[in-house]
Amino acid sequence: MNAPLQTPARVKHVKHQAQTSLAALWKPALKQAFVKLDPRQLVRSPVMLVVELTAILTTVLCFIPHPAVSLGLGVQIALWLWFTVLFANFAEAMAEGRGKARADSLKAGSQGLTARRRVAENQYQAVAASQLRKGDIVRVEAGELIPGDGEVIEGIAAVNEAAITGEPAPVIRESGGDRSAVTGNTRVVSDWLLVKITSNPGESTLDRMIALVEGAKRQKTPNEVALDILLIGLTLIFLLVVATLQPFARFAGGDLPLVYLAALLVTLIPTTIGGLLSAIGIAGMDRLVRLNVIAKSGRAVEAAGDVHTLLLDKTGTITFGNRRCSFMVMAPGVDAQTLAEASLLASSADDTAEGKSIVEYLRSSSALQLPPQSEIKAIPFSAETRLSGADWQGRSYRKGAVDAVLNYLNLGRDGLPAPLAREVEKIAQSGGTPLLVAGEGRLLGAIHLKDVVKPGIRERFAELRTLGIRTVMVTGDNPLTAAAIAAEAGVDDLIAEATPEKKLQRIRSEQAEGKLVAMCGDGANDAPALAQADVGLAMNDGTQAAREAANLVDLDSDPTKLLDVVQVGKELLVTRGALTTFSVANDVAKYFAILPALFAGIYPQLGALDIMQLHSPQSAILSAIVFNALIIIALIPLALRGVRVKALDAASLLRRNLLIYGLGGIIAPFIGIKLIDLLLVALGLV
């Protein structure tokens, strides 16, 4: 596992970008709202297509006067029906805008890009990047952009991937090993690379990013398709309800104006969710893109919300990559100051992460001063002595593994004082690594090096547990060490001495129980497991094999992202469910507004159903249709942001959301329609 490239600076960078984009986006979105009126585009959102057709019908009806409907009212109804479609289009355009702005800037960079394609050994031909096919081999020199996703087959170079990842520091890419994958549109800043292209035009990371956030090309996720069918079903039911009202009314000796029926239809069909469904999907993907995670399909994101089990690599996800000094134990008769000074000197020249962590630990706990560098003679680690340290003023300070230090002091295993021996034993049993420190020829104490669990990860796992997700730690450590870390991190289960086969087997057995499994990985040997998992997150700086097998790629190569992906998946589903429930619940109030108005001429006694006491039949119908349009605008921020998923068990989560969106959905329109009615009357519009 490679250490994550992420730095605090980059996070700030992304935030900044998101803020500027929102403010700058609404103008183009407004224009897009009109472009999207094209029925060919609206077909993707059948509910809104019905609204548009109804809007066209009502517009035509404005020219065919009906005795009960004034021209002014007819025009207003037609206008608000058009607004309903436009608002929904606007929502989608806003959602697209954010992701697209970034994708567009990337796309601009790739236009006119040429590549040197190898035609024979040492013979290259310049071709347009867009003509490159899978399997082509190109040579990229310092200063040039890599023309497509691929795998380094020769050479080593520093590559700046800022365009894709936002990370300004160049990374090393070389052939073989785990750092051989390169991404299109990233710049080689030193040396040269021979790259084998691994994606056809339209399949690259960049293309995928664009496809995820573009409404017209986006592939709907499976649950979205299912929801769409339900919405079409509800639309059909209401179409039948409204269409049969005219014959029923005629039987009762009345006649209903077609415009009113059109208005009733649009208020009843689920326009709120129908209008925002696409925006919710795009915004969900955009949240992923902003997390620097590329999904190869929306399916994987949805599956992330459903995951039962997370397989997490210990190193890099649960713990920091390296062991760190956590505390020190003095040998009998040694004072703390002596041990601290000796440890500091012994580690002062040690460049390894462990050595640095000892210095850090000592500096943070006491105000020790190192003597000037020039006075210290560094003794680097050697395979022969298995010790490292320094000599200062003729005195030697060494640290190393227990046996090595005892050897250095010419002591046997039993030369270790009993209290210290007990401590050393304890450290080993807790999964840590004990080091001994010697100075001026005598044993001074022991250092506890341990895997340090990332701060906050325990709480994160507890949250996941309340959401019903089990975490399994995967590590190559022996079972004893692994169990200690697992207990500290609070994971539910662990796989110790893990091999790729063991991982794959675990995934299969979980899946056989009907569970969905998510994991992340980067090595070539992770590829089968990544492919088998329902959600596989590959690290961008990993191997091409892993990137191809996974269904998500993290551009930052931060395995902790898996937790964020799960969160995004859940938010996506909850937002969809909440707005669907809200939309259907809204219909109750709309009936109470429209039905009495509609039948006022036939059965005036139905006025008893007008519990909102609206001003007149005309204002009742107009208020309902205005509310129906405005609620879409009002909910755009929620659709784009997504409903936050609190760490609660399913029953509490359901109760909370049902109260807000179900009960709220029943009550809100009663208030909203009444207010709009008052406003319309005050403005003299009815």
Binding site: V225, A226, T244, L467, G514, L573, T581, V588
Partner: protein
């Protein structure tokens, strides 16, 4: 209400609910071929049935084979019954020399009994021979609820099984449903009814002189056995024209109590049978709770409505004790209201009072019960599978709100299931709204309506609702026996039956093939008060949103005009 009214209602609920849990397990064991109380007696009969018909009881069918078997069975039933009705004058057991039925009436009646609707556009004693009643209708009274039960257990298997192709064997399910579930109870109830005075005879009608000296024909027949299965099998087709309002069909207070309770005896128990299939009785309790809420609410409202004095008569110097018009004086308002709600909650359709003469609200509730798709207990099997569809809809609508794609008992609901669900959702609007719109806009068919205005509209709406919901109860006052209505209501009944059954079997097949995700803390909780509320509201919302406009033009307008003096 008087003391005996409270006792009646209490006795009704005790009779229905007390044995439900025990019977539910018994039905489960019987349907799955496990040893049960009646095995020693009936197992040899069951084996004999398989041997004669060449059925291999071990062979599972996938949903397509199961559906084909069902369709073939129903088609044959339809043709045979149609032929019997048209040709009854050529067949034996016709002491009154009744002629064969006109073909549209025969079609309507055949469809009606094959689909477990028992809509009767004819009057039993005036039109049908004993042969038609016993061999024609009687057989369907048994097999049509057996089909409903078969579909239910097939659906339950679909939910309970994992990664499986089969959903059971139609022929086996039919045999067991008839032998173990319907027959034994029918025998018991028939004997009870004979004891209470219901005729069971092949004798000719009796010619008598009335006290006024007029000639009178008193119809008789093998009634008790018919009536038992008509109640237990949620059939509802009376032996006599006025159904259980007739003194021979429902002679005493005891017969009334047992007849009304036996309407939902089996449907209530089947809720527990389902719980045994999915190995989770909490699901049963949640579904039963939702059914009871809807039932009790409907009953309370109807009782209240029927107790109200009629405002039109308020000015007259008479004392009004509830609304007694159109009700059998022997039963009074409470027993009539209880029956009306029960028979429409279940898709039974037998009546002991004319719903046409109920108050407007009292007539609305039975109609609304049917519009919900007969899911409040509902027909044998049919009620619960309809209810389960609502469970799936509730789960799909709100299930996303826990941040997971919707699943019921570990089975994911995906595009295919939703498509089939939507198909079933369209059945009621098409059968009720579209067909009724057609009927009221054509001059000829509209002439069957015998009242003007809102009440007249209720008559037509009720007839098409009753047909599509496979209920079969009649509002009264609607001249249903015309070729147009015979054919259209016949089509509505076919749509209401097979429009549900085929999608349900397809859903069963699709769910059976799926893996079953472990049900745990993060699963959508489909039990407990929260889910009961959600389910109940979903049913009311779907039913209400679809039918509120039509109801507004019928019973609601009538009710309001009566009380506002329009």
């Amino acid at each position: 209400m008087q003391v005996q009214d409270y006792w009646l209602i209490l006795a009704f609920f005790v009779l229905v609910l007390a044995p439900a849990s025990f019977l539910g397990r018994f039905f489960f064991n019987a349907m799955e071929g496990k040893r049960n109380l009646l095995s020693p007696l009936l197992l040899p009969v069951e084996r004999l049935c398989y041997r004669i018909s060449g059925v291999d009881p071990e062979r599972d069918q996938d949903w397509k084979t199961y559906s084909l078997a069902l369709l073939a069975f129903s088609a044959v039933s339809l043709v045979v019954l149609f032929s019997i009705l048209v040709l009854q004058h050529l067949l034996p057991l016709n002491p009154q020399q009744l002629p064969g039925l006109e073909w549209t009436l025969a079609f309507n009646t055949a469809v009606s009994f094959v689909t477990n609707t028992n809509w009767q556009a004819y009057s039993g004693e005036a039109a049908l021979s004993y042969f038609s009643q016993m061999i024609g209708l009687g057989v369907q009274n048994f097999v049509s609820p057996a089909v409903g039960l078969a579909i239910l257990v097939a659906f339950a298997r679909g939910i309970a099984r994992k990664s499986s192709n089969g959903i059971g064997n139609f022929w086996v399910d039919m045999t067991r449903a008839t032998l173990y579930v319907l027959l034994p109870f029918c025998v018991l109830l028939a004997i009870f009814l004979v004891w209470q005075g219901v005729p069971q005879t092949f004798m000719d009608y009796v010619q008598a002189k009335s006290l006024l000296g007029a000639d009178q024909t008193i119809p008789l027949g093998p009634a008790a056995s018919q009536i038992a299965i008509k109640q237990l099998g949620t059939n509802g087709g009376g032996f006599f024209g006025v159904n259980s309002a007739h003194p021979f069909e429902n002679p005493t207070a005891w017969s009334n109590l047992f007849e009304v309770a036996s309407i939902i005896l089996i449907p209530a128990a089947l809720v527990f049978t389902f719980g045994h299939y999915v190995k989770d009785l909490r699901q049963s309790r949640a579904i039963l709770a939702s059914m009871l809420i809807l039932f009790v609410a409907g009953l309370a409202l109807t009782l209240w409505a029927e107790q109200q004095p009629n405002p039109a008569l308020a000015a007259l110097p008479i004392e009004q004790v509830g609304s007694l018009e159109g009700k059998e004086a022997r039963f009074g308002t409470v027993a009539s209201a209880l029956w009306a709600v029960t028979t429409t909650a279940a898709s039974n359709g037998s009546v002991n009072a004319m719903h046409d003469s109920f108050s407007a609200l009292g007539g609305l509730l039975p109609m609304f019960n049917m519009m919900l798709g007969e899911v409040v207990f509902g027909g044998v099997g049919a009620g619960l599978y309809g209810m389960l569809l609502f469970v799936l809809i509730a789960v799909f609508l709100a299930g996303l709100m826990i941040g997971r794609t919707p699943e019921y008992l570990g089975k994911k609901l995906e595009a295919r299931e939703v498509r089939l669900l939507v198909a079933t959702l369209l059945v009621m609007p098409v059968g009720v709204l579209v067909f009724c719109a057609l009927a009221v806009s054509l001059d000829g068919p509209a002439a069957s309506i015998t009242n003007p205005g809102a009440h007249g509209f209720s008559q037509a709406l009720y007839a098409y609702t009753s047909g599509t919901a496979n209920n079969g109860s009649a509002f009264g006052g609607f001249g249903a026996n015309t070729p147009f209505h015979n054919l259209m209501i016949g089509l509505a009944m076919l749509l209401g039956r097979f429009g549900y059954i085929l999608p349900i079997l397809a859903i069963a097949g699709s769910l059976a093939a799926k893996k079953r995700a472990p049900v745990g803390q993060n699963s959508f909780p489909t039990h407990g008060p929260l889910f009961v509320t959600l389910l109940t509201l979903t049913i009311l919302l779907v039913g209400g949103l679809t039918f509120l406009p039509a109801l507004a033009l019928g019973p609601i307008a009538e009710h309001l005009s009566m009380f506002q003096g329009f």
